[in-house]
Symmetry: C2
Subunit: 772 residues, 2 copies
């Protein structure tokens, strides 16, 4: 470890160009971080924003058992739990860090000996195709995962391209070799989730098919094409649920060496005969949102040969390119690991959702083409999916808008296409795989798009059209109390629950729309939405200094417990945390509290309060992890709160709180994340805060200053410029900022702007163990 630190220090002193050439940031990524406890990350292989996330699943947990919700399901959101001892197989789609899932498509498992077509029971690997494994023979790095399947004595390795998973199974002992393709397997599964699956055997080494599910996404189909490096000698299917009636297929033995099968609960197997010790079976497994033909074309265009090591190397290079957008140094390797793993986690989603020819399935269930759109509208874009916007509008998208503005623009274009295809004529709320799942609240696409417009990354007719879509979304009366919100200025709890959270988030999103409108000179929109952005005031109860739910007659509901969430007008956050969600007007919020001092005292109270034990029993996804006093970092609503001291006379408390959160909530270990990573939002918080600034109100064009934990950082911007952040007198204890300079001149404010960063230059923090 000492050696590694020395290397880091050496690199940090080299000129920047050397840094770029030799840095090898991928060495610091540890994909196991977050795989234990709350992080809900997966350790498997994927390229940046890749459509395939090829990762081990250690258990299958049904969503319901006997009609009741099974809380174990939640733990398995990413398919893999570090504490598990067995692997059931390797599936191709995983969300990173979510508190819900829908994926785990197409589980592959190699076996030796007698064919087994059931996954078997946890703790009893002999009961099915599951295998014991140990962390001692497991390794994960960007776009590469390996593990030894102990029961089968098979070394499983995997890497990917954007749309193709590449498996390599090396058989440690001879015997009858099989590969199982499980089309039933899924994360968050239950009876009836598989609407339909279809498999077609094209020839003795090629298979295609699809899986159609009704889950979080209501009408979702994923197509695949799969190629083996060896010819299989036999293959077959087993149906685990009888279909009532299906034509005259009974004239065949459909279950053995017959080239097509369809149904709701299927597993397929492929027999390779007797292999010798050392023999390999490789599998290329391509996905498509469009068709099996699309999947086959993706497979052929992305991996033409069987060179596993080249694909692995190219995947690593792709990660190296992405990670090098922000070059940092810390004094410790663990911090380097935390930082680059955060960068890695921030670059897993949104994921590419189109074939190599630009075609994708829209939420209208029609196939669209980004190429056609290009010709018609002068646009070309990569279509993405998996927009966990309630989480990611906060820091993930602002980070992308800063270090990957071109990609973020394509995120925005994907969101605009979603709107155009949306039956509700709305921008995405939480969308995945050609579906809107309506998870969580607000219309935070508005924040992401407004940020892109305000910062000049989305311009012209496209920006105007985007503004129209934001306005249309914000006028959708039947969505989550908007009709009431428009009528009363708040969502009334008796008409629409979690009304306070909704009102506060609408007010912020409305402000974001107003900022975009101002930038585009659309004064009517600006006026309307500036007015709406004040709506947070309508639920402010000065008597208790909390936001509180009102009924439709305008009265606060009498029963009120600011520690509770359920039934109190909030969702995934209590009044203590949510009442501070006025990111666009902290000054106004401070005034409402009775001034800066009272506001700071309230923040102090939040961070230092002692929560009763009963608190932790309340909700499924809040544990002691992620909590500091009453401040909940493990969930998103308060992610900006540590920065609110910047609007008081005690900005040093932002500095110490931020450093405290960085230290306490993120560790370079499997259990190192204090909450769900939520598609990179938790990680993006880490990246920004480590650098010393954070987007409290995206679309403001400002980043509030905190306390950087890095020694030095360079942002290699897409416009070719570089923005550096230096700390002087940095240490674990020196968390206070005594002076900040921008390009050598003292900065007399508590923020820097987007344009200052994009202009390139140098930001220096003078660190101290004492606050001013």
């Amino acid at each position: 470890m000492r050696h590694a630190i020395a290397l880091v220090i050496l690199i940090a002193t080299l000129p920047t160009w050397v840094f770029t050439q030799t840095s090898n940031y991928t060495q610091y990524v540890n994909p196991f971080i977050g795989t234990e406890r709350m992080g809900h990350t997966y350790p498997g292989a994927t390229v940046p924003f890749g459509a395939v996330q090829l990762s081990p699943d250690t258990d299958e947990q049904p969503h319901n058992i006997g009609g009741k919700y099974n809380p174990e399901t939640y733990r398995y959101c990413a398919g893999y739990k570090y504490e598990d001892k067995e692997i059931v197989g390797f599936s191709h789609t995983h969300f990173s860090g979510t508190g819900h899932s829908d994926l785990g498509d197409f589980l592959i498992m190699p076996t030796v000996g007698e064919l087994q077509l059931e996954p078997g029971k946890k703790g009893d690997p002999k009961s099915g195709f599951r295998s014991a494994f140990s962390h001692a023979t497991e390794a994960a790095e960007p776009d590469y995962y390996k593990v030894r399947l102990d029961d089968e004595n098979i070394l499983a390795e995997m890497t990917t391209t954007t749309r193709v998973g590449f498996h390599q199974y090396s058989f440690g002992q001879g015997g009858d070799a099989h590969v199982v393709l499980d089309l039933m397997h899924g994360i968050y599964s239950y009876e009836g989730k598989n609407v339909w699956t279809y498999v077609r055997v094209v020839n003795d080494h090629t298979v295609v098919g699809f899986r159609q599910t009704n889950g979080w996404a209501r009408t979702r189909t994923v197509y695949f094409a799969m190629e083996f490096s060896r010819q299989f000698e036999h293959y077959g299917f087993k149906e685990f649920a009888k279909q009532d009636y299906r034509g005259f297929w009974r004239k065949f033995d459909q279950y053995k060496d017959f080239p097509e099968m369809a149904g709701k609960q299927l597993r397929a197997y492929f027999d390779f005969g007797k292999l010798n010790a050392g023999d390999k079976v490789q599998v290329k497994f391509a996905l498509s949102p469009v068709s099996t033909d699309g999947a086959m074309a993706n497979l052929r265009s992305e991996i033409r040969d069987w060179d596993f090591e080249r694909v692995r190397r190219e995947g690593k290079q792709a990660w190296e390119r992405e990670l090098s957008r922000v070059g940092v140094t810390f004094d410790g390797r663990d911090d380097m690991t935390s930082f680059y793993t955060a960068m890695y986690h921030a670059m897993l989603s949104p994921t590419v959702y189109m074939d190599t020819d630009g075609r994708y399935k829209g939420i209208d269930q029609n196939v669209h083409s980004s190429v056609a759109q290009n010709r018609r509208e002068g646009l070309s874009f990569t279509n993405y999916t998996t927009f966990s916007l309630w989480d990611t509008f906060r820091a993930l998208h602002p980070l992308m808008n800063l270090i990957e503005p071109a990609r973020n623009r394509d995120f925005v274009r994907s969101m605009m296409a979603h709107h155009d295809q949306s039956p509700e004529h709305m921008l995405p709320i939480w969308s995945h795989y050609g579906n809107e799942n309506w998870c969580m609240i607000g219309y935070h696409s508005a924040s992401v798009i407004a940020d892109a417009i305000v910062t000049g990354n989305l311009t012209g007719a496209e920006a105007g059209a985007a503004l129209d879509k934001m306005v249309e979304t914000a006028h959708t009366g039947y969505y989550d109390g908007i009709a009431w919100y428009q009528k009363l200025g708040y969502v009334p709890e008796d008409k629409n629950s979690t009304s306070v959270s909704k009102t506060l988030e609408y007010a912020y999103d409305d402000w974001a729309i107003a900022q975009a409108a101002r930038k585009l000179g659309r004064s009517a929109v600006y006026n309307e939405f500036s007015k709406r952005s004040e709506n947070w005031r309508n639920l402010w109860d000065p008597s208790v200094r909390f936001m509180r739910p009102k009924d439709s007659s305008g009265n606060f509901l009498p029963k009120f417990d600011p520690l509770k969430t359920e039934g109190q007008g909030f969702i995934e956050g209590n009044a203590w945390n949510y009442s501070l969600f006025v990111p666009h007007d902290p000054e106004g919020l401070a005034e409402a509290h009775g001034g800066k001092m009272k506001f700071a005292a309230r923040l102090d109270e939040l961070f230092t309060m002692h929560l009763p034990d009963s608190f932790f029993a309340e909700t499924e996804d809040i544990t002691r992890d992620g909590i500091i006093g009453g401040y909940i970092h493990g969930n998103e609503p308060a992610h900006h709160v540590a920065y609110l001291y910047d609007w008081t006379d005690e900005p040093w408390k932002t500095q110490s709180r931020v450093r405290g959160i960085l230290r306490q909530q993120y560790r370079a270990a499997p259990d190192g994340l204090g909450g769900n990573d939520d598609c990179g939002q938790m990680s993006a918080w880490y990246v920004f805060s480590s650098l010393g600034f954070y987007p409290v109100a995206p679309a403001s064009g400002r980043f509030m200053l905190g306390s950087p934990s890095i020694k030095k950082a360079v942002l290699r911007l897409e416009n070719g410029r570089r923005f550096t952040v230096e700390t002087l007198n940095q240490s674990e204890k020196n968390v206070y900022v005594s002076r900040v300079t921008l390009d050598g001149r003292d900065l007399d404010r508590r923020y820097i702007t987007y344009s200052e960063i994009m202009a390139g230059g140098s930001l220096a923090f003078y660190m101290s163990d004492k606050h001013l």
Copy 2:
């Protein structure tokens, strides 16, 4: 009636060009023929080979009741039973004349008053949206159907274009008007048949969606786009089966005025508010095999306005053009009606299965384009579906090959595309809607394609490729005993049931392949399949003069009942009928019988035997309808049998039998068909036999002479020539042919050839009441 007959006689004496201009053949079509008892035809509106068959359904009969097959289902194959008193609605897809179904997609029903979302109980129209109706206010003609819905006092009218159904509902009384769209309704439905349905409300008069089913077709999706002539004021959905879990849609009231819904059991409704008496609601309803976008494009390109009468007129003109390909005269209007209704029924399917842009879904579930294929292979074709080949290879396709060779060539091209997309690499057996349903036996695509090749309608590289596909199909070992057939020369009953029927049909199909190979100079294929075509001999038992099942050791099965079908080695026909199925070698068969006389005596025995009552109880779809002695005309295996006397010294018995069948098995009345029309096969038999010749062995290039029932006929051939058939001394009694001339010269054989017909000219039959 006398007046009509006079008119016919008048027309018959006019020169041919006048005939073409003024004939008005559509007047003779009665779509009700076959709607009662066994015909299984539908009375609704459709254009020739149209993709939409918009027709009333008089009941819904589930395929299973309490896990047991419900025989009532069979009666409702076409959705409509003439004897019923109520209509449940109008759906858009119907097979004509089948003994099975899978369709009835998208039932529409207009109602007045209180909204009802259940079809209700038969006999109790008040119990649901069903309505009483009477034949007195009902009318059907080519591409037009109307009926008064008595309970609702609504006049329902419908017409179609190829891909669009056009409804016109005239409200006879004021009141709250609704239109119900039932996505659950179907013909041959059962729990679990609807895999998924999806609806999207595009605007206040436009709706799109799809229905995905698992039935006769395993993976079938039909897309629609629907436009109303009036804006609806409200709309909504009702789910009749709860989904376990479906994202966060619960945040909406999805059931009222919310623009999308998906699930397994849905009905939608559209409220038009209070309409006045006389107000109309029109609906244009387009189908697509590809997507809702495809359906919308079909709608827009086929009907641009709301001119119902123009669409109706154009549909009628399209029928007039098709029917005028064969101009005939009879002495009676009933015969005219029977003939043109047979022509009409012969031109209902195969149906167009592609969007106006040439795209369609193949059986590989990918979207293909006939246009792309055009560019690549120099081909352009219209893709068709609904190939009931076990039925239609006999007479329907030979009729098409004669009077519509271009269309028949596109049928062949559709079959070839099917092969290319088939996981089994087989030509279609019985295919519909992008699926192979594997119904019945044989590989009769080979007969259809060979007929096209032998007659010179499919040539060059295309013919060569088609031959390869036939050969590949006939070599598919896992299909219905083919591996055994190849090994033993017959299908052994202990290995594969209905083995005699399969062996006989394979042998015929093999002969057809050999004929195509000979035409194309492919001698190896010719030799192989000529040899295979002799395989019927392997199951001939000279001791009883029947075909009999053998086991795989080469022994005839000891138990044998030539009257029975079930378990005797046959399907849909007993040994009495099936043993005569050697259409390619009647001479050989006669020899096997011990010569022409014994063969003729066996035929006599068949036509005159007395069947025991127990016979009629045996199978569901054979009743006393369609039976003459032991000859079963109501099913297909013996359709050629009446013509077999042509290979004996008693051809006059062919003449009298054919006339007897024409008279007994076809009547111009709803109950006028003696068996399932089977996608036009029964009707094509009628057309050929009325003209005086029949294709006993398609791909022979020969039509065997029978006894024409027409007075005069003109075939207006696609090559611009005309072939006329005249009868002299024609009457009901004069069924015997004493002399035949071709272009004035005596014909000294019992057949005419395809090329003789295509060359134009004149065939004259001299009729007599005495045989030679």
